[in-house]
Amino acid sequence: MTERSAIHARDVRRVFESRKGFFFNELIRTEALRGVDLDVDHGEIFGLLGPNGAGKTTFTKILSTLLIPTSGSVEVLGLDVVRQAAELRPRIGLVLGGERGLYNRISARENLRYFADIYGVPVVHRDRRIQEVLDRVDLTEAADRRVEEFSRGMKQKLHLARGILHGPEILFLDEPTIGLDPKSARETRKLIRSLVADGVTIFLTTHYMFEAEELCQRIAVLSRGRIVARDTVAGLRKLVGGDRTIEVEAYGFDDGEIQRLNRLPGVSRVMSEEFGPRLRLTMRVRTDELSLEQVRAQLVNHPELAVRERRTSLEDVYLDLVEEEAS
């Protein structure tokens, strides 16, 4: 089989079933993924964004052989994640993060030693490799302390260290900087970039838009179990209607004013949002030709009018896409 891309997923669906009630007689079906298609290239950092419960962790677990999809096909590094999981596992790394997933009563070094052994890190290189990853995540000083004494951020670093311990070709990172202080989060992003420089493919889920914008070559937005958009950050900006965002705020606008704003050259969409007594209209603009004066000219009856312009952020794009899907 030829290796088309690092990750190749087609029509991936996943349904969870659980029972509740005294006699376990109530069956609950939850459709976590509803036909996900995705390709990730070798050596890229690919970001998966989505609100809580969108299916990000479910999809990450399927890619990392921890969960079998209900239907659809997934290949990672050219190997089927269900049928060829044993061949795939030595070549992938997974960082799920959080407070759990570590042996709390032994030291960080002992944790890494255990996982190095069962992940098949050659014994002759083991101690050196453990030291390398400890240095890389800046945990050397705490290496011989029990994990239960670690802060949340230190545990997160240890998760990362374990994920890269066996030198995986592709690394799945599920919210890798959650719980880290700004300095540690920045170091983690630096580490992620250095891994890519070493040829590792990174599949990243995150809630931090600036992180995705800073790190990822391409991004997909997952909402309610479906990919609603996938592109570069610039491409996503275009998708939601433009690079420029103009915001106008006043004590209410009438329908005619909103329609006039919608008809201005380059305006792709106008969204309204209430802020107490005030109303904010957010306009996505495709061209540079539209000036703020032209906007003000449409709203002459509002002496208290505030107009400002900014670059459309990834957060704007994300919120637009997720809200659009929800509506």
Binding site: F22, F23, F24, E148
Partner: protein
């Protein structure tokens, strides 16, 4: 409009802990728990010791051992379960939130004992039915009323004892170890399997401090149709064990709450 001041009344705290806490951490509301703890464990434990007694010719005979173990099985749904709530709270990270709450501590902790008391009552009642119907323990001269009082007081005292151990466990890393120790000690020091008099004197004194010892004696006496005077004395001891346990548990909760907060052991499990 001003918001009303926060109020956490005694009864509100008691009921929310009585109903909610067991659902979150003990699984009392599940069929597997009911079947396992109330119906299966008593039957298998009693059967095991009945066979042992019939082979070994133990001093009290099969009936003695069967009744002793029928009452001893209450340990699972009382001491062990109540004790375990402390661990579950620590693991879930909810213990800190309880400790910073303004709720009345007595209502908070004792409320948690209500469902275990009911489960304990059910466990011993089922076990006594097994004893009389399956193992043919004589009940001709006994009084159902005396038996009911004995079982109720035992359940209450054992849950109180569980709360006491739960208080100690607040300071320890884990309470399961304590629950297990007293589960096993119950087999040795409560007179469940052989009369306490065969043990060395110091161990007899330890046995006398356990509510289970008096609970077993009361149930045996009720089954045998002991006179009211004897029953009142035994009930007095069972109730005393329960009251002292609860009193001590409150004192310990306060002491260990302070110590646990100072050593930081609450966050660990």
């Amino acid at each position: 409009m001003t918001e009303p001041a926060l109020r956490s009344s005694f009864t509100r705290t008691f009921w929310v802990n009585a109903i909610f806490a067991p659902r979150t951490s003990l699984g009392f509301m599940r069929l597997d728990f009911v079947l396992g703890t109330i119906f299966i464990i008593p039957l298998t434990q009693m059967t095991f010791f009945a066979f042992v007694a019939s082979l070994s010719g133990t001093p009290g005979g099969v009936a003695f051992v069967v009744v002793g173990n029928a009452v001893a099985t209450v340990t699972y749904s009382s001491v062990f379960s109540v004790c375990q709530t402390t661990d579950n709270e620590k693991e879930a990270g909810t213990m800190e939130h309880l400790l910073v709450s303004p709720a009345n501590r007595f209502a908070l902790y004792f409320g948690r004992g209500l469902i275990p008391v009911l489960a304990s009552l059910a466990t011993v009642a089922v076990a006594i039915v097994y004893a009389v119907t399956i193992f043919h323990v004589p009940f001709a001269g006994g009084s159902v009323g005396d038996l009911a009082v004995s079982i109720t007081l035992t359940a209450f005292a054992m849950v109180g004892f569980g709360l006491l151990l739960g208080g100690v466990a607040l300071y320890l890393r884990t309470s399961i170890i304590l629950g297990n120790i007293f589960l096993f000690l119950g087999l040795l020091l409560s007179g469940a399997n052989f009369p306490l008099s065969v043990l060395p004197l110091p161990l007899q004194y330890v046995g006398d401090l356990l509510p289970l010892t008096w609970g077993i004696s009361a149930v045996r006496a009720a089954l045998a149709g002991a006179p009211l005077g004897t029953m009142l004395t035994l009930w007095g001891y069972v109730a005393l064990c329960g009251i002292v346990s609860i009193g001590l548990s409150m004192a310990l909760w306060n002491t260990f709450e302070r110590r646990a907060l100072s050593t930081g052991s609450i966050a660990r499990f």
